[in-house]
Subunit: 146 residues, 2 copies
DNA sequence: GTAACTGCAAAACTTTTGCAACCAG
DNA sequence: CTGGTTGCAAAAGTTTTGCAGTTAC
């Protein structure tokens, strides 16, 4: 539903405007960068580095600002699996995460966590709604102790 | 399987020794503190504050050391739901977590994430094993915008 | 013109590290 | 004794804040 995949100059700007975000140079550039190619998991640092490498001039602070704005707007999804490191997932669709503890790599799996039968048993009460379900499966290579 | 619930002085010390941890003053004190009362979610800071309040003299660094050692030994479980904050869960049994985004509170629910049917569909390969499954359900109060 | 946005530097936090002093077995 | 532990201070790393300057409309 919320994806920026246009290649024309105007598509991205329009889309941002629809989300209530002014299409500034930095936001347009990051939106393009984040939607080029397939789905990825990026840290703020990754995004900053890629942006600079792509010739986009912008501040670290702005990267954080924009990533949070994009997350709030539904363009990204925040994933936290280790303290002190936030991943921004360009895949906002239903899926779960598999963390390879050996390599630290995070991988997507196409299963909808929101459809878990167990959620029906939760009995949370009428006044709360489920905003999100995050499933992280931690895996290790067998017998490889180090 | 790994729980320190003895009230006698020797039970805790013995248990720690069985886990390969020397029963130092700090470790014994924290082990007692963490197993008093029901299951809880504590940050390192929480543990430090409680310990000091209980008259236990120990350093912040030592709290981290011991919490990690206890986690490795299976006495605690680390839970990360927000960047820059690690919770230590005294409940090491199978359960999932419900995060109240309004209050930031984390609550346990007694369902075994490892028994999720979806895990059978994962097809991870023969060389990897599932070390842990973490399920966080984020909830919000309905319509209460602030 | 004006509110929204960006950039810079510094601050705020949590967690880790290095190393000397200390303690359990 | 001797290696495992602790404590302190400092470092490391990520994310946030305050505010002046800039930009979109």
């Amino acid at each position: 539903m919320a994806s920026i995949s246009e290649h024309e100059s105007d598509g991205v700007r329009e889309h941002l405007r629809e989300l209530g975000l002014r299409p500034t140079r930095q936001r347009v550039a990051l939106a393009r960068l984040l939607t080029a190619g397939g789905h990825r998991h990026l840290s703020a640092e990754d995004v900053y580095a890629e942006a600079r490498q792509a010739g986009i001039r912008l501040a670290y602070t702005t990267v954080y600002n924009i990533l949070h704005q994009f997350t709030a707007a539904g363009l990204l999804r925040e994933v936290v699996v280790e303290s002190g490191r936030t991943w921004f997932d360009t895949n906002t669709g239903p899926h779960l995460h598999v963390l390879d503890e050996d390599s630290g790599r995070l991988q997507d799996f196409a299963i909808d966590p929101k459809s878990l039968p167990l959620l029906k048993d939760l009995n949370l009460g009428d006044d709360v709604e489920i905003a999100d379900v995050e499933v992280v499966v931690r895996v290790r290579r067998r017998s490889a102790d180090k």
